[in-house]
Each structure stands twice: as structure tokens, then as C-alpha cells.
């Protein structure tokens, strides 16, 4: 099972990366994660953002990611320590 962290989108860095303010960490994660991490998006499930990466613009990411509460499922890490993740909109589902 991959490590999972949750938090709010902070700054958009590029068309497929952003900074996340980490608020929650899954129990049993294999690693420790700092309070602010850089996320590189490998896959998304976010309302308002197409599945096709080549369509993304910084403005789209700005609208959808900044301040939103996000779930990041970590698939790997770059040599610089950036996290490659599937990013989804956490906790939107109703009861």
C-alpha cells in the first residue's frame, strides 16, 4: 500500500507541480513527511481538471488546487525528494 498524505494546495510551481501544506498523514506510512512538500502530479481525480496532462494550464491548477483539500497517494520520489503522486479531491462525497 502506498503512503498517503492530505493537505491544502499552497503554491503552483509548474503546469504539473505544486506545494502542499500537509495536515494529515496516513497511519503506517513508511516515511515521515514534512509540513510542506513539493508534489509532482502523475495522475488526477479532481473536479475541473482534465485527465489529460497536456491540456493543463497554470490557471487551471490555480483554481482547482490552491487552498483545496487534497489527497496525495505517493507512488515514488525524485532524487530531489519531490513526491510523485496521484492527487484527488478528498472528502467531497456526501453522506
Amino acid at each position: 500500500m502506498s503512503d498517503i498524505i492530505w493537505g491544502n494546495g499552497k503554491n503552483i510551481i509548474s503546469k504539473d507541480s505544486f506545494e502542499l501544506t500537509v495536515t494529515h498523514r496516513q497511519n503506517g506510512n513508511s516515511e515521515e513527511y514534512q509540513d510542506t512538500v513539493k508534489i509532482i502530479i502523475s495522475d488526477v481525480d479532481l473536479p475541473g481538471l482534465s485527465d489529460n496532462k497536456s491540456n493543463w494550464e497554470i490557471d487551471d491548477l490555480q483554481k482547482v488546487i490552491v487552498d483545496s483539500f487534497l489527497k496525495c497517494e505517493i507512488s515514488s520520489k525524485t532524487s530531489d525528494g519531490d513526491l510523485i503522486c496521484k492527487v484527488s479531491h478528498s472528502g467531497a462525497a456526501g453522506y
Binding site: F69, G91, Y95
Partner: protein, 256 residues
């Protein structure tokens, strides 16, 4: 004062709606809106029919759009199935959906309220929720303009939530609605699974609405709200639908 407008003659006005939209009042409660006898008939029909729930996670009949924020196709497929089920459930009773639509249309006489479709596919006309003993619904808001951006109904000016109580609880299952309107900055207080941390409502005025069979409760769902734990042996059964008001086109959309 943050309290409900209680209506006993089945007639609400545009002024009443404006008060909940602006946050001057917490809710409109239309007492005995729907006959208790018909509520019982609907419950009997639900219990005697083999109806598949919309998901394993929730005891719902009909899809709830917020569970399908990025799965539009699936939402519309499930809506189609659910709308057929609702027609069967309401076959021999005065349709509660039409009755609710009628009261909303009277409040907005110059607006057109029509069956809401997208690419010729219909939205779910309502959701019937059965909450059992011990269940509660955490603090949350419903705001289609934020989480439902992929749907046409998100292009609205105001959203109203209408909840018809089909079966009341013995105890608990009360709606608590807080005098606190959701803003995006509150997203940092989200809980992992659903809803918000209760720190957001500390020292905030709250109104309590009891579950009473036949009552229709209308709220502005962008104000934080929650349902207290259901106690006693009777399930809390409600029929819920949303209305979206689009001022420029003078249109009203409904969905669930």
C-alpha cells in the same frame, strides 16, 4: 436572531427564501407539508420492494451528485435507473417531488422550473436517505458551485436544499445549522473522510431542527450543518433535493 421560519399554512414567500439565502434566518420549516399517510405508504413501498442502494457505503436510493464529482457518466447512468425506481415508489401517492417543485415555483413566479438535463441525460430527481441508529452526519456544507464544477447545474447564483422528512426518529437525528457560511479558506479545517472540524463552529450561533414526519425543511446548504446521532429504533428517512437559482436566465434547476 438565527432561528427558523415556521410555516403552518403551506405558503412561503420570496421574502422567506431571501432570508435564508442572505443568512438572516437559518431555515424554513413547512409543517405538515406532506401527508403522514403518504409518507407511510412510501416507506412501506421502499421496504417491500427489492431496491438496490446507490453504493455499499451509503444507505441511499438514488445517486448523490457529490459522490460523483468526477464521474459524470456514471452519475447520469445511475440517475436514469433511480428515476425509474422513484416513479414506481411514488406511483400511488401524490408525488412529493412535484409537490416540492410546485412550492418552489410559486416563490419564483417569473422563473422557469424545468426538468434538468445535460446532454439529454436527466439528473436524479431526488435522493432518499435512510440513516440508522448510531449514524450521524458530520459538519459539512453542500455547494455545487465548488465541488460540482463539471456539471451544468453548478452555474447558478444560489442553491437551496429541500429535505422532506418521511420518517422521524424516536430521538436524535436533529439538524444543527450554524450561522457560519462556508468560504474556501475553511478548507484547511477539512476532515479526511468528509466534512469539517468542529472547531469552525465553536461559539457560533446554532439552530436545531427536529425531524418530524411530513415536514419540509428548506435551508441554504452553504451554511455549515450536521445531523446529530440517531438514537432509538426508528431510522431517519428523508427525501432530499436541491434547487439552483440562475437569475440571469430566470431558470431553476433541480437535482440530487
Amino acid at each position: 436572531m438565527w432561528n427558523s421560519i415556521v410555516i403552518t399554512n403551506n405558503e412561503i414567500t420570496n421574502r422567506d427564501i431571501k432570508k435564508i439565502v442572505s443568512g438572516e434566518k437559518s431555515a424554513i420549516i413547512i409543517k405538515n407539508f406532506y401527508e403522514k399517510r403518504s409518507c407511510k405508504q412510501i416507506i412501506k413501498k421502499i421496504n417491500s420492494t427489492n431496491i438496490e442502494n446507490d453504493s455499499k457505503q451509503f444507505n441511499h436510493i438514488g445517486p448523490f451528485l457529490m459522490n460523483y464529482t468526477t464521474k459524470k457518466e456514471k452519475y447520469f447512468q445511475n440517475s436514469k435507473k433511480a428515476n425509474i425506481i422513484f416513479k414506481k415508489i411514488f406511483l400511488n401517492v401524490d408525488s412529493p417531488i412535484n409537490k416540492i417543485k410546485l412550492i418552489i415555483s410559486k416563490v419564483y413566479p417569473n422563473y422557469e422550473i424545468s426538468e434538468t438535463k445535460e446532454n439529454r441525460m436527466s439528473y436524479a430527481s431526488c435522493t432518499i436517505r435512510k440513516h440508522e441508529k448510531g449514524k450521524k452526519v458530520p459538519l459539512h456544507k453542500d455547494n455545487v458551485t465548488y465541488e460540482g464544477v463539471e456539471y451544468n447545474v453548478s452555474k447558478i447564483d444560489n442553491q437551496l436544499s429541500c429535505i422532506l422528512h418521511l420518517q422521524e426518529t424516536e430521538r436524535g437525528g436533529k439538524l444543527l445549522i450554524y450561522n457560519k457560511k462556508w468560504e474556501k479558506k475553511m478548507e484547511k479545517f477539512r476532515e479526511i473522510e468528509f466534512g469539517y472540524n468542529s472547531i469552525l463552529t465553536k461559539n457560533i450561533e446554532v439552530d436545531t431542527v427536529e425531524s418530524k414526519t411530513g415536514d419540509l425543511v428548506i435551508i441554504n446548504p452553504n451554511y455549515l450543518h450536521e445531523i446529530t446521532k440517531i438514537q432509538g429504533n426508528t431510522d431517519r428517512i428523508t427525501l432530499g433535493m436541491f434547487f439552483g437559482i440562475q437569475n440571469k436566465s430566470k431558470k431553476i434547476f433541480s437535482w440530487a
